[in-house]
């Protein structure tokens, strides 16, 4: 959940805020979850909706999502080597360049391991749309990271 949030927001602090809001909303609306369906897909859908609303609001106001004091969570643990920092930078940069809809397709399928059908359900799009977004996202990532793979 936190992983997906970070992928959506491209930022540790924003991702954690999004997670917190998702937990709140999921707890409040837990009665809407249908027993027997996948809880993770349901939670991801909630998260995605919150994020879309947030992104819209943010575009309008162009203000920061996260309160300033959350900035302290952005940094990484001190014992992580410089190489890891460089590595993070490259993948993060490549991901950040993707359009939102490609990034979420990549996150759901390649990182979270959802099947195409499940990912398409979370996003609420036809499977063909998902796979074409995924293909374009992959191509862009390959171009950005290609020589290192």
């Amino acid at each position: 959940m936190r992983r997906f949030a970070r992928g959506l927001t491209r930022d540790g602090a924003d991702g954690d805020d999004l997670c917190q809001m998702t937990i709140e909303r999921a707890l409040k609306s837990s009665h809407l979850w249908t027993e027997g369906t996948r809880l993770d897909s349901w939670v991801y859908r909630i998260m995605r909706n919150i994020w879309i609303d947030e992104a819209r609001a943010r575009n309008r106001a162009s203000q920061t999502f996260a309160p300033e004091e959350d900035g302290e969570h952005v940094g990484m643990a001190g014992d992580v080597g410089i190489e890891a920092h460089v590595e993070l930078g490259n993948v993060d940069r490549a991901m950040a360049q993707l359009p939102d809809e490609q990034r979420e397709a990549v996150m759901l399928v390649l990182v979270e391991g959802f099947a195409y059908k499940e990912a398409a359900e979370i996003i609420g799009c036809p499977m063909g749309t998902l796979t074409s977004r995924l293909a374009r996202g992959r191509e862009a990532l390959m171009r950005a990271l290609g020589e290192e793979l």
Partner: protein, 253 residues
């Protein structure tokens, strides 16, 4: 036979049925560009997973714990469904476990195959543990080599690529010294075994689809890695069904 980009994607993402998967695997054995494209896609997947794996390991912010505890302790109204909070906690725990499983992942290029000692240790852990004391596990060590035994030896001896079995035979080929080698893929291990005087010698072993984190649908990745090695070892084309059967009938010599 040409394999489209979409098919490569579906192959790597575990979205293909067995027949389509076998077709791509076979094609990749005789097409270096295709094998490379698959390896690159697997590499991208692993790179992204490795990149995000650490997130789930980060300490959970106290505010979230508090929020969940509060909801948990609040007396639920009679009509409300019971304890949704526990489910959320479970999700979080499962994600943490997944991340843990994903943690040691290194780029495909660096971990394609394990050296002898590591392979031996791995095999001990994977398949022999618990079986060692019993009659015959799928792998035995003899004179410093790992030999297939039990069910695995039987599958290597008898099973053709077209047959179903708990272990699949991905390809059969000859290597430089003329020995017949078979690439196999199973739930507990995948690898390549070559036939010699003392039976099937395991040249390469890696964790099977169960062991390497099924939650990430790594089966495609394991097959691709087996395939890439087979490609390097093979002299000439992989055997077709008729050649494979003929080789079996001649005792794999």
């Amino acid at each position: 036979m040409s394999i489209s980009r979409e098919e490569i994607m579906a192959y790597v993402d575990g979205e293909m049925d067995e027949a389509a998967r076998a077709k791509v695997t076979l094609a990749a054995l005789s097409d270096l560009d295709l094998a490379e494209a698959i390896a690159r896609e697997c590499g991208l997947r692993e790179r992204l997973q490795g990149h995000f794996a650490g997130v789930a390991q980060e300490p959970v912010p106290p505010a979230w714990e508090a929020m969940i505890r509060k909801a948990q302790s609040a007396e639920a109204p009679a009509e409300a469904p019971p304890a949704p909070v526990i489910d959320l906690a479970q999700v979080r725990r499962r994600k943490a476990e997944e991340a843990k499983a994903a943690q040691p992942r290194v780029p495909l290029s660096q971990r394609k195959w394990f050296g002898g000692a590591i392979a031996a240790a791995l095999v001990m852990g994977l398949f022999l543990g618990g079986q060692m004391m019993r009659s015959e596990g799928p792998i035995t060590a003899k004179g410093g080599a790992l030999l297939a035994s039990g069910d695995l030896a039987h599958a290597l001896d008898r099973q053709l690529a077209a047959n179903e079995g708990s272990t699949r035979m991905i390809a059969t080929f000859r290597r430089g010294d003329g020995a017949v080698c078979r690439a196999f893929s199973g739930a507990s291990a995948s690898g390549i075994a070559c036939h010699g005087g003392d039976g099937w010698r395991l040249e390469h072993v890696m964790p099977g689809s169960d062991a390497s984190g099924a939650q990430y649908r790594q089966a495609g990745s394991a097959d691709a890695a087996v395939m890439a090695i087979a490609q390097d070892m093979a002299v000439g084309e992989p055997m077709d069904a008729a050649q494979e059967k003929a080789a079996r009938d001649k005792g794999w010599r």
